[in-house]
């Protein structure tokens, strides 16, 4: 079974994200790491390949400056190789531009993958529209917000537990398909030192827009066809009194709840 996993490389969220003051798109000048949201997809993919008894996991990523830091982490987890699309014309790409690039990269994988996995949304941009855009561009069925995926029919179809407003749905889908995986559904494996060293030798194929046959106008800031007209700090809420519990703080809370007439 061949699985392609979209893996975004993002600035470390321990350092607060910021906008580029010039063009008001995400500043991506810091070193990039694997988006934690994608580590679940990588883990799910590795387990499915193990369950299928063969195959491999290919990572697909779009990042500036040929960044590979996040991809190396996922390769150390067990992915076989990666496709990295890096091109100066991609700066300022929106969700649809990103989906076009990822779709073209996935189309270049031969033989084509049985399953494409994504996160439900990235941690830094979180538009949450890339999975469905990507599925549409690849002419694939999609099941978004999956909590669990199992192979069925000797690896020809999948059963997916999908999060809903009121619980979950169980769905069946023949392959190939695209599934977006919610965070926290599996424990991503922690690569061993040996695996980290071995990952350095795994292939990362870098692709340009020209190699994918994508016009620079269709992606990047030009392709986004939207403009940020203003950015302001979100309205701050005023904090009130802060007390240190010395055994009677619960009475203060109860008093306030009574005053607010919720008891």
């Amino acid at each position: 079974m061949k699985v392609a996993v979209c893996a975004k490389q993002i600035p470390d969220q321990a350092n607060p994200a910021k906008l580029d003051p010039l063009n008001r798109t995400l500043d991506r000048s810091d070193r990039l790491i694997l988006d934690e949201a994608d580590s679940y997809g990588v883990e799910v993919a590795l387990r499915l390949v193990e369950q299928a008894g063969g195959g491999d996991v290919t990572l697909v990523s779009m990042a500036p400056r040929g960044e590979t830091g996040g991809l190396r982490t996922a390769l150390a987890m067990g992915a076989a190789g990666a496709l990295l699309v890096s091109d100066d014309d991609l700066g300022g790409s929106d969700a649809l531009g990103t989906a076009k690039v990822l779709a073209a990269a996935i189309r270049s994988i031969s033989p084509s993958p049985d399953l494409v996995l994504t996160a439900t949304e990235s941690t830094d941009g979180y538009t949450g529209t890339v999975p469905a855009q990507l599925a549409e561009l690849l002419d694939l069925p999609s099941i978004t917000f999956a909590k669990r995926i199992e192979l069925e029919g000797g690896g020809t179809s999948i059963r997916v537990w999908r999060q809903t407003e009121s619980g979950h749905d169980e769905l069946c889908c023949t392959l190939p398909a695209l599934v977006s995986v919610t965070a926290g559904v599996v424990e991503p494996r922690y690569p061993s030192y040996r695996a980290i060293v071995a990952a350095k030798a795994k292939p990362i194929t870098q692709l340009s827009l020209a190699e994918l046959g994508i016009s620079p106008d269709a992606v990047g800031a030009a392709g986004a066809r939207q403009v940020v007209t203003g950015v302001v700090a979100a309205e701050a809420r005023q904090g009130g009194e802060v007390i240190v519990d010395s055994g009677d703080a619960h009475e203060r809370i109860a008093d306030l709840l009574q005053q607010l007439k919720v008891i």
């Binding site: 649809l96 694939l140 889908c173 919610t182 939207q226 950015v231 240190v244 109860a254 919720v262 008891i263």
Partner: protein, 329 residues
């Protein structure tokens, strides 16, 4: 201010009448366009009864792609919309809820039409053109940006819940026409089939409708202590909520998550237990009228927005609070 000519709203969940998310969106759309039309799915009787309700909210036409059976709505609704738009019958904008199925509709429509989306929208206003300016939270709500589309329409906006208030119109008895929409062959895209639905039974009010929400975070210390959060919520006739951190850690189900990825809540009182106040969480609860926070860390950002902050251990304060409330009856 110039109104747009025509706004489409994608329905959310077609069973049991229009959802609150749908009524919010059509109410908001009324302030933006002269004509508000809804795109939905379902059997004839269901669509007809929904249309009656929607008429009271200013919708004049309901397009239906028909009964979708066990399929997911995304591919069919997006295809129905794209079909009309390609035939020259296009709205100025399409509003879609930032929900599970809504994102599917928005994403597929965007790719079909080659039109961008603006997501996480929390406000929409008219600008010159006429065009819409969207307000959307970035960096988990730490900053707020305004954006506009610069290319040809229709613009696709993915709108967070609670952005608009559901308000019926004052005029009544306006007829709503139901228009069936032919959908082109969907091919592979509609291969996913729902085989069973599981509704998690939930006692008490719904999280996004409760007047009191009691939420727990990593600072509770252990998954067992979430029972205290549930107990306090039940006592206050409220709903228990959670941060992404403890949902990801598997302490509670995703349906409890409040924040950027989860639900937006606007209760009268929000009680944050062991929650530090990451922006990802705050964006989902900062609309609460009153906030009470309990946390061991005096420097936790949640105290910056709390009406009453208690520096203390939830494992100690919560049992005492529950006991005290019981005593007060």
């Amino acid at each position: 201010m110039t109104l747009l000519d025509r706004v489409w709203v994608a329905a959310e969940s077609a069973t049991g009448g229009p959802s609150s998310a749908t009524l919010e969106l059509v109410s908001g759309a009324r302030g933006l366009g002269k004509v508000v039309e809804l795109f939905t799915w379902g059997d004839e009787a269901t669509v007809a009864s929904s249309a009656d309700v929607l008429g009271g909210y200013g919708v004049t036409r309901v397009y239906s792609v028909g009964d979708i059976g066990p399929a997911l709505p995304g591919p069919r609704v997006a295809s129905g919309m794209a079909g009309l738009i390609w035939a020259g019958d296009s709205p100025d904008v399409v509003l879609v809820g930032a929900t599970y199925d809504g994102r599917d509709v928005a994403g597929r429509l965007s790719a079909k039409l080659d039109r961008p989306t603006i997501t996480n929208v929390v406000g929409l206003a008219e600008a010159e053109g006429p065009r819409l300016v969207a307000e959307h939270a970035i960096f988990g709500g730490a900053q707020s940006a305004t954006s506009q589309f610069t290319g040809p329409g229709p613009g696709i906006f993915v709108v967070r819940d609670k952005t608009f208030e559901a308000r019926p119109t004052e005029v009544s008895g306006v007829p709503v026409s139901v228009v069936p929409v032919e959908v082109a062959e969907l091919g592979r895209t509609s291969a996913a089939q729902v085989v069973s639905r599981h509704v998690e039974t939930q006692e008490g009010p719904k999280l996004d409708e409760a007047t009191v929400v009691v939420s727990g975070g990593r600072g509770l210390g252990s998954p067992e202590r979430y029972a205290l959060v549930e107990e306090l919520a039940a006592l206050l006739h409220g709903a228990p909520g959670a941060t992404r951190a403890i949902v990801d850690a598997g302490w509670v189900a995703y349906s409890h998550q409040v924040g950027q990825t989860g639900k937006t809540v606007r209760p009268t009182v929000y009680i944050a237990c062991g929650i530090s106040g990451a922006t990802q969480h705050m964006v989902g609860m900062k609309g609460a009228r009153h906030v009470i926070a309990i946390n061991t860390d005096r420097d936790a950002p949640i105290f910056g927005i709390a009406d009453l902050g208690v520096v203390g251990d939830c494992g100690v304060v919560l049992p005492r609070l529950i006991e005290s409330l019981r005593a007060r009856g």
